[in-house]
Amino acid sequence: METVTITLITQILALAAQYGIPLVLNSLKALNKEEITQEDIDALKELIKPPEDY
């Protein structure tokens, strides 16, 4: 296995351990999408909140 692949897998596992599997799975799903819908694009606005709201 290539070093880059191992590094990527390690990072994904680290993210899953820190933030939970659903977040990592959702991110991978979003990046694998072949067709981006208008709803997907509109959802970008709700993906993040103003800093003060955290």
């Binding site: 990046l31 970008l44 103003p50 955290y54």
Partner: protein
């Protein structure tokens, strides 16, 4: 040196966007994915910051500084999100230009934001966002 790297990156991004815009009418999926990664990273960073503040690791003053950097990312990100939404429906050139400017701004603001978070949680956020190709 870092500013130079960021400037080079921004110029490359604009050129790539322009070239891709000429070559293909549909750059929307690529921009969407870049924005999704950036947004998820911001969200992760801010949730971590909030958690560290609750634990007393980050003071109110330090939080205000992080929020300042975060706002420099948040504002253009929201403009880009709105612009992308309109551009996807209209393919309007002016909206595309506005979108390009907003993307350039939030990518430029990212490394400062990531640095401000990584100061308290080393290595949490990458200091570069993926390139739009």
């Amino acid at each position: 040196m870092k500013n130079f790297k960021v400037s080079v990156y921004i110029v490359m991004l604009i050129l790539t966007l322009m070239l891709t815009g000429c070559a293909s009418n549909d750059i929307t999926p690529t921009i969407y994915k870049t924005m999704y990664i950036a947004g998820s990273g911001y969200d992760t960073g801010m949730k971590t910051v909030a958690s560290l503040q609750k634990q007393g690791i980050i003071s109110t003053e330090q939080r205000l500084v992080i929020n300042e950097y975060a706002n420099k990312f948040y504002a253009p990100y929201q403009i880009a999100a709105k612009s992308l939404s309109v551009y996807n429906k209209t393919k309007d050139k002016d909206v595309y230009n506005q979108l390009t400017i907003a993307i350039t701004e939030f990518i430029g603001a990212w490394s400062m934001f990531a640095d401000s978070v990584n100061r308290f949680q080393p290595g949490l956020l990458g200091t570069d966002l993926p390139k739009i190709e």
